[in-house]
Amino acid sequence: MSDQVKKETNKLTDKEVRRSWITWLFNNQANYNYERMMGTGFMHSMVPIAKKLYKDDVEKQKEMLKRHAGFFNCEPCLGSSITGLTVAMEEQKAAGGDIDGEAITSIKTGLMGPISGIGDSVIQGVIVPLLLAFAIDMASTGNMAAPIIYALIMIAVVFGISYSLFMMGYKKGSDAILKLLENGIINKIISGANIMGCMVLGALVANYVSMSCGIQISQSVESVFNVQEQLFDAIIPKLLPLLMTLSCYQMLKKGLSSVKVLLVIVAVGIIGGMTGILG
């Protein structure tokens, strides 16, 4: 064991820091619960750190781990920067730096909200929907490369973001994280990504929402006016799907829950399907 070699110094080595990251990456939601959300996972990722920093002092280990047993909830990829930062603060505290336990807890919980906000909107709000839009489009023709490419890109994205931000939090501290959050570049990327996302979603509406009018008006014995083909298709072919999507958006924006909107769709489908208005 290399632990015995370095017995005199309790400084962290790459080994514990990486172990802490891996523990966080894998287990942040292993015991996801309403009481503390990712709290147990966070404490778990501090175990290798506590055991190294306070190797011969069980009481100090307890004190440190209890500090991290409380509520914690954050977007896990960007949130790994907080875990890394906490490792650095604990190391500083163990070395006798003037940082107390409460300060560690308050910095940790203070960063939770803003980092989740950015993490959720960038990863779950932009990266994943965009990649999925392309992958779904490829997959809808039965192209088996689509799920594989999507999965490989996601693996690279998650590992890359999680590892580099953990190390940034550990090595550069909270100032670096705050600077990254306040940096105009992130806002520029988000606004650019919104534009890209909007365009791709517009195309998705055209390609994947299907809704057509089944009304046929007989003009004379031989000729029938087909509303879908002769009215909608002649002007804007996918007008109904577009209106449906915008209505869903409006209902959601007015505060209707998604389950209620779903029920509206079911009702429209039943009425429209039975009467033949939709077809």
């Binding site: 619960n33 147990t40 778990h44 997959a139 996601m154 195309a203 390609n207 489908g269 399907g273």
Partner: protein, 252 residues
Amino acid sequence: MSVLQGMLLGILYYLGNSSIVAGPIGYYTIYRPLIGGFLTGLILGDPVTGLIVGATINLMYIGFISAGGALPGDMCLAGILGSALAITGGLDTEAALAIAVPIGLIGTLLWFGRLTLDSFFAHLADKFVEDGKPEKVWIADVLLPQLMLFFMTAIPCFLAAYFGASYIEGAINALGGTVLGVMIIIGGMMPALGIGLTLIYIFKGEARVFFFMGFLLAVYFGLSMIAIGFLALCCAIVYTQLKNVRGGEVNV
């Protein structure tokens, strides 16, 4: 469907929910119907159908944000059972989607149950720390909650897939043509909700017009998603550059 195939689907559902597939990696891959449907298809010997149905189901959950108020649904269960039923029952993709989404709603019960019961293990972890045995924390954080999750997810999914598959074809035939036709209409409209949920996050301010631009490009020019994606990237870059030149917000 054989018992073994049903059991494999149960395990697949567990893996989609589990943290053992590198935490968020599992959540972003196996949990998605695109991947889950494909793997379901592999298990059932029809990966192409599984992939196509899974991809369509995934449209409903394209903007799924676990933290926000997105569609409360278990897309993993919806993807696995939806594509399994489509393969075994010979359902149309839209009809499978109309069945999968309610399944997803039922699946959220498992999520609530899991998050409630997991609180118990948090206290067990406290106890290990209190006893000075931090090396045992993993038992409370990983081993026991994951074992519990395995039984909570794999068994219901196995039962639903195995027994659902034997009845689905008969049930669909009994329902008759009109019901199936209505289900196809409903399933066709459902992606509008999935896209609407994503729009909540990005359909803002100046970006709005680009939504219509993407729509028109697809409708009138029939461009593929990839082509529109690259065009969208260029549009975003040009727009950001122009905005910088003018040096300020252009609020519409």
